[in-house]
Each structure stands twice: as C-alpha cells, then as structure tokens.
C-alpha cells in the first residue's frame, strides 16, 4: 500500500513537468511583454529600464535556460517574484490567497456532499416520488446553471429583493461566506445527487438485493446493509476530481463576490503577463487535481476490497 502511494506520487512529478512545459511555451508564445507598463496608453519604458528589469527577472537569458532555472527553483518552493506586484514574492501571495480558495472550496464541497448524497439515496429509494423530482430538478439546474450566473441570481434574490444578506464582497465574517458557498456548491451537488441515484438504482436491480429481500429482511435493512454499501462507492470516486474542479471553477465566483482567493489572480496575471504567477497557479491546480485523483484511488481501494491497488 505504502509502495503504491509512493509510486503514484512519484508519477505526479512528470505530469507536473509536462504541465509546466506546456504552460511555459504557451505563455511565452503569447504576444505582449511583462516589461511594458500595464496601463493603457502609457508610454513604454525606456530601453535601459527594460533591460534592467529583464535582468532582474532573468528574462535576458535564452528561453530554455529560463525554463531550467525555473524548474530548479520550484524544487526549493521558490516561485520567484510577481511581475505585477514587484515587491512581493509569488510564494507569499499564494500563501495568503490559496487558503481562502481552499476554505471556500471545502465549504462548498461539504454542502454539496451533505445535501447531494442523501438526496440521491432518497430519490433512488422513492423512485418517482416528490423527492425524486426534487432530486432531478436540482441535478438539472446544477448541471446547466453556470456558477457565475447562479451567483448573479443569488445576489438579486438575497441581497436586493429580500435583503437577508446585507452586502456582498469581502471575506471577513461568516455572512460573507454564505452566497459564494451556495453559488459554488450547486453544480457538484447536482452531479453528485444524479450520480448517487443512478448508482443506487443500479445496485437495487442486482441479484443479491433480491436475495436479501427474499430472505425476509425489511426494506430498511436491505437499503442500509446491502444497497448503500455498494451504491455509494461510485459517487465517492467523483468527489476528488470534483473538489479539484471546484478549485479551478472558482475564479468567477471569487471575482463576483470579491473573495480574496487565488482564482481571481489567474486572469489578472495572464493579462499582466505575470509569468511566475501564471506558472504557480497552474501548477498548484495541476498538483491538486493529481493528488485528489490519487486520494480517490486509495479510498476506492479501501471501501471496495474487490479492487486491488497495484
């Protein structure tokens, strides 16, 4: 088991190198230069100043050398200096903003699981009942409503029409957490509910469930002891990638609610050609996705002994 985990973790490294290489190439193929001022119509920097900046950022070296230096530096978790906030280390910015994104993502994920899973189970148990309809409504809305659109509807409803929530923007008190969390959680909640229902229905058709019913177990016992155990395995496996997806889906929600998280830096950094920030954010999301997939496989192996990790 330990061997398996180590091997999978080691495989993450080439994946991340591939991601960093692709990002690096696209980034440098992008027109525009970090050595120019960001404001529109501003005068370009004098050539000497550009040269000095290029030297400071290491942009005067050939591209392949820049890339190798970068790879060497991130080995020691040195992500470089941000080009747009020239006095700040990328590591420091990430350290301030990443936890906020994770907090938002984790809250949204918890809400999605706590509501989505039971909803799917209840829908499967009472097929074609009211709960089943509720489940399919939430599932459909969750799949087809983009989170930034939902965010706008939520603001209209809960801030402007029924002023339950006094303001939007910021991250200082729990009241600021409510709307972003809801906006971010509906999508995964819908997918989870739908997936759980489908998986439960599938298991309920199996022979061993019929056997359990035939030997006189009550419905409740059949569901709890036999169906749940098997039916919940597939939904568990999608929670990991989902969590990583929530992380990458959050730039919009973070922008609308002015949450000081990492997601909204991504777009700003791209526009400002802030190479170190772009690389750092892409790599962190890539690593998150990879680690989540490993966690899922491990959990999968733990809950379902039929699956052997190798």
């Amino acid at each position: 088991m330990a061997q398996y985990i180590v091997r999978r973790l080691l495989l993450v490294i080439p994946t991340l190198i591939a991601i960093s290489l692709i990002t690096f190439i696209i980034m440098h193929a992008t027109p525009g230069s970090p050595l120019q001022p960001q404001a529109a119509n501003a005068n370009p920097l004098p050539p000497e100043a550009q040269k000095a900046l290029a030297k400071r950022f290491g942009l005067d070296k050939p591209l392949w050398q820049q890339y190798l230096v970068y790879l060497k530096n991130i080995w020691t978790l040195d992500f470089g200096i941000s080009y747009q906030y020239r006095t700040r280390q990328v590591r420091e910015i990430i350290a301030n903003t990443f936890p906020v994104s994770m907090e938002l993502g984790a809250m949204a994920m918890v809400v999605a699981i706590v509501i989505g899973l039971p909803l799917g189970v209840l829908a499967a148990v009472n097929q074609n009942g009211p709960i089943d309809y509720l489940c399919s409504i939430i599932a459909t809305l969750g799949v087809s409503l983009p989170n930034f659109i939902l965010a706008l509807f939520l603001i209209l409803l809960f801030v402007l029409l029924l002023p339950v929530i006094p303001r939007t923007g910021g991250w200082s008190s729990p009241i600021d957490w409510v709307l972003p969390t809801i906006a971010l959680s509906l999508g995964p909640m819908g997918i989870l509910a739908r997936y759980t229902r489908a998986s439960m229905v599938e298991v309920m058709r199996q022979d061993f469930v019929r056997t359990a019913q035939a030997k006189g177990l009550s419905n409740r016992q059949v569901i709890v002891r036999h169906v749940l155990k098997n039916g919940l395995i597939p939904p568990i496996t999608i929670i990991g990638p989902m969590f990583a997806a929530i992380g990458t889906g959050s730039p919009f929600v973070e922008a609308i609610f002015r949450v000081p998280g990492m997601g909204r830096f991504y777009v700003d950094s791209l526009i400002a050609r802030d190479y170190p920030m772009i690389m750092a954010v892409t790599l962190i999301y890539g690593a998150l996705l990879a680690v989540m997939n490993i966690v899922v496989d491990i959990v999968y192996g733990l809950v379902d002994p039929r699956i052997r990790l190798s």
Binding site: T15, I26, S144, L156, G286
Partner: protein, 308 residues
Amino acid sequence: MAMTGAGVSGRAERADALLYAARPHRTLWRDALNRLIANRLALVGLAIIVLVTLMAILAPVISPYPYDKQDYTAISQFPTWTGPHPLGTDLVGRDMLSRMIWGAQVSIAVGLGSQLLVLLIGVPIGAIAGYFGGRIDSWLMRFVDVMYAFPQLLFVILIMAALGRGLQNIFIAIGITGWVTLARLTRAEFLALRERDFVTAARALGAGPWRLIFRHLLPNALSPIIVTVTFGIPQAIFTEAALSFIGIGINPPRPSWGQMAGEYQVYIQSYWYMSIFPSIAIALLMLAFTFFGDGLRDALDPRTRSSR
C-alpha cells in the same frame, strides 16, 4: 425480414406487404426518434434551441437596432416592456433587446461550431488509436493523459490569452481542449467493437481497414459519440460565456450574453436588468441543451436510462 427480397410470385409479395403493414419496418434510428418524440422535456428543449437558433440567424432582420447603436436620449433606461426600448438600454444607451438578439448568434455559433471542430479532431484521433493500437495508441493516450491532468478551464483561459479575443479564437481554444474526451470515448468504443464477431467476419471477407472503420466500426460507435457531442454543446456555450464574462472572449462592441452579464455584474445593485437578462438567456439555453441531450441519450441507448 430475411425473406424481404424473396417475393417471386405475386402472392408472396402480397404476403410481404401484409407483413409490413402489420409490423412496420423499424430501424434503430427510427426507434430512437420515436422515443425522443415521446419525451416531452426533450421536445421543450428542442423548441427553445430552434427558437434561439432562428433568433441568431435572423438577428440582422428582427433586431430593432444595430447592436452598437447608441441612443443618447435614453441612457441606462430601465425596461419599459413596451415602447422603443422594451428591455431598456445599457450604460451607453444601446438597446438591450437588440444586444440580446445579437448575443444569441455568438452562443449558437460557439456551441455548434466548436463541437464540429471537436468532432473533426477527436473522432479521427480516437479511431486511429483504437483501430491500430500499438505504439500510436500508447503515445496518443499518454498525450491525452497529460491533457486530462491540465485543469481545463485554466487551459482555455491560457490559450485565449495567447490567441487574443475573437470568435474564431474561441472556436480554436475550445477545439484544442475539448477533443480529448471524445477521442478517449471513440478509442474505447473501437477497442470493444474490434473484437466483435461481425468485425472478424467482415475482415475474413476481405474488408480493408478503411472499409472496416467507416462501414462497420464507426456506425456502431455513433450513438455514444452523438450523445457526447450533444452534451459538449452546452459546455462550449458555458465556456464562451465564462471567457467573455471575464473579458477575454468575444471582441467588443460585439455582444455576447456572457460578455453582457460580466460587464454589468458590477452594477447589479443599481441596474439589475443589465446583467440578469443575459444571465436568464444563458441559463435557459443551457437548460434546453441539457434536456435535449438527456432525451437523446435515453432515446439512443435505453439501457442507460438515468432519469425516468
């Protein structure tokens, strides 16, 4: 149906005709169409899709004003529901209704166009990998794995930043990132079909690789491919809306629903309608494609019926 062509005498032909009348000839596609028509939600979805598509095509004719025409006598006018600006005007006095109608063009073009591109890239790559296998397959799949490890939305944003704004660049960005799922699916289908008896039989009769691929493998893999592409359409619409929302999608002054929602979301407290109307339009269109896609999947493959 084996005796279909055997009608030599008139009597046999009449018997054949009777047989047909009693139980009409049904193909897989005819069956699927019948199931689709019976699905009311899918039809509602289809109706909305047709309506929006007509709106998009007829935009130059039905839109009351050009999308960039400013009315200086009515700036930031709230919806009046009648009169010259029924849905109001935006911050610089452009008619909201006209911009909504023109915005439909972008959503429909991106939804259909980008998926066509995805189809043209994904299916051949998946087909080659699945049919020929071996080294080509393992290289292609390794590449696909790297693409999967990339957070998709970030990748699209990255490519858009490199290409710059504009409709055709949105096609390209979605095409480059979107084909992976389809290639993987096509490959899996081909791998499974390749071993089936009818393919072995065709091969034994001397069919070459291209005949096998186009006459035997592809037609049998078609329904999952169609379903995947149908679900890709709302995804592409979402991606365009998201890109335009953050200002790196469509080129202004051309309107798109995502661009409108994004540009005016800052003013939602004072001018709610400016961002809410396009939001409703996006939600409705995506819902329509989801309904239609669900119906199509249930119709084409009744075994995997997920909804009722």
